[in-house]
Amino acid sequence: MSPMTKDATVYWKSLEELRAERHDSSSRRDEFVEPLPWKRTTGARAFQASTPPADPAVDGASRRDFLALMGFSLGAAACSRGTTQHALPFVTAPEDLTPGVPNWYATTCGGCSASCSVLVKTRDGRPIKIEGNREAPLFGGGTCAVGQATVLSLYDGQRLRQPLWRGAPASWQEVDEKIESQLRTTGAAQGRITLLSATITSPSTRDIIARWSRRYAGFRHVVYEPVSYAAIRRAHQTLFKRAVLPHYRFDNAALIVGLEADFLGAWLSPVEFTAQYARRRRPGRSMAHHVQFESTLSLTGANADVRHAVSPSAIGHLAMALLDRVSSADREPFAADMSLALAASELDALADRLLRHRGESLVVCGVQDVEVQTVVTRLNHVLGNIGHTLELSPCSFQKQGDDEEVATLVEQMQRGDIQALILYGVNPAYDYPNQQAFLRGLERVALSVSFADRVDETASHVHAVCPDHHYLEAWGDAEPVTGSFSLIQPTIAPLFETRAAQDSLLKWLGEAQDFHAYLRSYWQRNVFPLQTGRRNFEEFWDGVLQAGFLNAPVPVAATAALSGPVVATARRARDGQPRELRVGTADRFELHAYETVALRDGRHANNPWLQELPDPIAKVTWGRGLAIAPAVADRLDLQDGDVVTVTGGGVRVELPIWRQPGQPSTTVSIALGYGRTGAGPVGNGVGTNAWRFLGHGADGLLGLHPTVVALEKTGRFAPLAATQTHHSMEGRPLVREATLEEFLTDPGAGREAPEALPSLWAEHEPGSHTWGLTIDLSSCTGCSACVVACQAENNVPVVGKEEVARGREMHWIRVDRYYQGPASSPDVVFQPVMCQHCANAPCETVCPVLATVHSSDGINEQIYNRCVGTRYCENNCPYKVRRFNWFTYANNPRFDFNMNSPLGTMVLNPDVVVRSRGVMEKCSLCIQRIQAGKVAARQSGDSIADGQIQTACQQACPAKAIVFGDMQDPGSQAARFRQSPRHYHLLADLGTRPGVGYLTKIRNREARTR
């Protein structure tokens, strides 16, 4: 650029230029306002001209400098490994969306029909984490493993992108036209239209369905639940003339008797029940006593103080025996031919105890048999529990299946009497016991429509698939228990061309309103008047959306009056009981089927987080084995993984066995929810379909009616992938426990007093905080919600069955489960273990590259970028909490789970790095949450309050067993727990000085563990 002469005509391009030119003529000449960083190399002077440079910024550069810079940039370009990524800013930024700052929405979980209130964390417009809504009084702020995993099912690649007509993609307009015309025809001909749905807790949806009833004379709504609770409702109908499912209050019960009801695991509303149960089970004088009678060892049975393993057919007899002893003075001798390992005296003692706790005891039963449920309901009534530990008003709407209607429907379908069938949230072609009958009937239905989100077993046979939204994309409401309302609001715009089922139903009715408007108007008419807090509906609506829930007062019903004489009905019930089956000999057993904590009824089979979640009891992933008592397995010479054929009632399946301590020797147990063929690539072919063993009983109810099965060895071997293969503590003091009596005498019972061990290491300088965790083993039920929560929060990869079998699962937190005592009736303890963040960490001293160091906050940090993967830290960790990335898990077709597609990776938490191959990882105490909390505190100027920062595992726990806090703050709950006499450290005598502590487990029983 030649210097400007003063008198040359200057053309300017812009006003700035003109202005600048007037002010500073020299800068105008430079193309770059800042001088380029030419460095004066020593050689440059030698090559420079003798005259000093006119403009040092430009002319000071020499050829050598130029070459140096060119060489550098060439080298830099060659070394550059970054791929081009496009970051597009919003043209119109959404309100309240700050990149990097999460937005929270309150909604209701749709993982099952329990309808827990949850908060959804969204980042950049997409939901990435589910958390319980602490303020919702019903559920206590926790979630279950299924709820935590539903965020991933939003990003399931198997979801339909658009509606289908006869299997081919179609537009909504086409499908609507076809369906509406068919419905019109059917309506005109007074044909039968049936909506077959799962439990609908949404009052607004029920309202829409009511409209359908009013519109079409032949319309019927049938509720189908594959695991049905209809017996309980029938029992209440018989006794109280009200077919209700009671609302159970475990927190009001000082004595809980469970009869084949896994209420902490998968029965009815586990999150709510766990929260109630944990509240009542705090060690102390008012600690509840829990007795469980069940067949297979369930999560609930593992937590019971006293557990009896009995065959399923004996449950009814037990209930009857208890009712006898409680309701009348004469105690009939417990029938001698009952091959129960239960002395009559024990039953007497239990009955006495029940009587002592009148009005504060609770007997729950999960058997699908009207007679048994009638006996149990009567038992509760006699004990005065109704209205205290179980309420009929408010009642529960969480299960509404009507089995007889389902049977009638299937018959009608087969006869060709059903003209139109709408399937909403059900999959009978998979889980209906007589799926062949259903499919035959389906063929004869003129119009079949499914709202399924994928082409599942049923949707592959229907005419139209109109995929429903995922609950995270949808509007809605829920009323799980009378008076406890909650809203469902979308947290992301629908990803695909799906449409809310309610919108479809409204459209086909010819309504103009969409469901959102309908929902608002329904609430305005029906819910808004129930409360008096807000006068303005808009305020009210926004308030409920923000809070997530609304508790409306419920009219308390008068004490339920029992109809019919007590004793006669009871006697009749007992006489109606089938005789105990002659089983347990040779290869004939009673069959028991159960829902697993991870997969429940199988609707989430395509969710890799749930498939890889180790079963809390068996610690098996990706499938379940047939649970057999170890003694029986020994007798039949069966090892874990030996494949057997189970034949009974005309059904024959094959699956590997699993030796299950605590399993009664008369019974084998099979898991429901497996053996799917239409779930997707993750879930198809995992496990065996056990639904066909169920059936309609004599009372018309769906359930597992006493079935005798025969086992046959096949000689084949199909190993199960278990994360824990050794189940004994080997006498090591890992879980410390004491009985309640011992605890009341000496709160420090069960553990050794902590002694300060000498240490060669220098003390760490404490920083402004010292973060730590305390885990209350008395509260922890082993439900493993924390495992999935941690996986969601920290982008922990899924590795698949083969890798789990090799011992390479990646979960940062695991729940160890140990058995004590005889294999036929063991005591069970659970212990969540994550990185203990030791002050004298054995891993820190051995890492050669200092990839693991101790922070001043007391956290053992793993620095992924620095790790070279020698794995010495993994070897030296006595707790074995470190996880190594054996392969590249992300963007690797070999691990085609949630990290191999753009859709699946939307669930990843952007605050947490996705680790590369060859790098070690482990629990970080959710350091990203700690940092976020510290940043927020710094910005607001306040100090960090106790409970403001919660780790993912703490937040998810429905029992509030995990407590995170600052040990330097004496008022924090974690610090107080550390001072508790129940507090101990795991492997304390190694001198690792962990930052994680445990509180002893207290059992409410007289004798010490056997």
């Binding site: 293969t725 200092l850 020698t870």
Partner: protein
């Protein structure tokens, strides 16, 4: 120092030939020229069919190893059988195995030199070569066992602009880096230095052309003068002094990979001497194995005599007894100490899922070498060969047992798992043997495998009087 003249006692009466005080380390009287010819013969002659067969096998093994390692580095450590509890198995077993084997060479070259054991002269060159190759094989394993081996240079404390960020000097793995590198460098220098006069001999014998030039370069202008020899021998002594502590220190440091950890079964102070004894033990096993075969194939029986084998077998027996004593000491301390976790480890070793490996180790390391008490066995190559092989097998299993049994069942029973090797790991082990034997086979064809200049000194001394 080579060959100091000794006087024999003049017999008072005529009787049978005087019994020498020491065995003859060279059989027969050999002219110096003859020695040069014998030792240089393999270097110029065409190798026999046997050599070709051997190198074909070892190259195949090497190729298998290269393929396995390439696959493993490209795909991940997951191609091995390691898991959440067992972080090391074949990789570190092989590492310790090969490093241990190297120790015999250094002991023969350096320590026996300082102890003036002249019988070492025939064997020290090949033993030292064996050390180099063994350390090379060993050094590969820490490199490839890393999850991100392309960042292996981070284990070195080099100045950098990231802080600067140093390595963790408290970590035994960093000590390993120093120890192995020191060992490799000192051994290389010592080995090369020891070959200088022999390179000069070969240079002088070679006709004009490439070989003369190469040997000339390698001999660094050796002129054979008195002054050169004098300085040379001093330098050898100094290098030997430098190399001697390495025999103790290197394997002590390697043992601290285990001893400084917290695991029961690893956390024991006996590890340094136990490992050093074991290293010398396995090293002598490998030396005997190599020399028994080589002396036969290369017709060097007059240089590597049965007396040499006898001496080596005695050292083997000594170190084997030390190893057996270490085992006994470990077991005793586990019982006497009363620590439940420690006791369990040893009971588990003998009766648990890997008991077969444990008893193989005991049979090969403790029981079978007891045969070496018999002189007949010690002087019979046919008997020593299988014993040497079994010693190596036993010592490999010893490291396997130590590593895997302590890892697979440690403190928390919930993390107890089984470890099963994969074909990739086995292929890598085979490849390391391929590398070792390829190097050794090349060595015996390209470099003088016996220290010619030392042997000549020995022969001269023997000729002058009984040495």
């Amino acid at each position: 120092m080579p060959g100091t003249a000794r006087r024999t006692l003049t017999p008072a009466v005529e009787c049978a030939r005087p019994v020498p005080l020491r065995p003859a380390w060279l059989e027969g009287s050999l002219a110096l020229r003859q020695i040069s010819d014998d030792i240089a013969l393999p270097l110029s002659a065409r190798p026999g069919a046997g050599w070709f067969v051997c190198i074909a096998v070892s190259l195949t093994a090497l190729a298998v190893g290269v393929a396995c390692v390439t696959y493993q580095i490209a795909t991940g450590i997951g191609t091995w059988g390691l898991n959440k509890s067992v972080g090391w198995a074949f990789d570190i077993t092989n590492f310790v195995f090969w490093i241990g084997i190297g120790h015999a060479g250094t002991l023969i070259s350096a320590i026996l030199l300082l102890f003036r054991q002249h019988w070492r002269m025939s064997i020290n060159r090949s033993a030292e070569a064996m050390t180099i190759f063994a350390v090379l094989c060993a050094a590969l394993f820490p490199l490839i066992h890393m999850g991100r081996p392309w960042l292996a240079f981070w284990m070195m404390p080099y100045p950098n602009s990231r802080g600067p960020l140093w390595v963790n000097f408290r970590s035994p793995l960093v000590w390993d880096v120093f120890a192995i590198n020191t060992y490799l460098i000192v051994s290389l220098v010592f080995w090369y230095f020891g070959m200088l006069p022999d390179f000069a001999t070969l240079r002088d014998r070679a006709g004009a052309g490439g070989k003369k030039r190469i040997y000339g370069l390698l001999s660094l202008g050796w002129d054979g003068s008195q002054r050169t020899w004098s300085r040379y021998e001093t330098a050898c002594l100094l290098l030997a002094g430098l190399a001697t502590p390495l025999v103790i220190s290197v394997h002590s440091i390697v043992s601290m990979d285990f001893a400084t950890s917290i695991l029961p079964g690893w956390h024991a102070t006996i590890f340094p001497p136990y490992f050093v004894a074991g290293a010398v033990y396995s090293g002598f096993g490998m030396v005997m194995l190599l020399l028994i075969i080589t002396r036969r194939v290369m017709h060097l029986q007059r240089y590597i005599t049965l007396a040499h084998l006898d001496r080596m077998a005695k050292i083997t027996l000594l170190t084997g007894s030390l190893v057996a004593f270490s085992y006994a000491s470990e077991w005793f301390m586990a019982w006497y100490g009363g620590n439940a976790d420690e006791r369990f480890v040893f009971v588990n070793r003998a009766t648990g899922r890997y008991a077969w490996a444990f008893w193989t180790m005991v049979a090969c390391n403790v029981v079978i070498p007891q045969c070496l008490w018999l002189r007949r066995v010690r002087t019979s190559p046919a008997a020593l060969l299988p014993i040497a092989i079994l010693i190596n097998v036993g010592m490999w299993f010893e490291r396997f047992v130590i590593i895997v049994t302590s890892l697979h069942r440690s403190y928390l029973p919930s993390s107890w798992v089984m470890y099963y090797p994969t074909s990739i790991e086995i292929g890598t082990l085979v490849g390391s043997f391929g590398l070792f034997f390829t190097c050794f086979l090349l060595f015996i064809r390209l470099l003088p495998m016996i220290a010619t200049w030392e042997i000549k000194g020995l022969a001269a001394a023997q000729a002058r009087g009984r040495s």
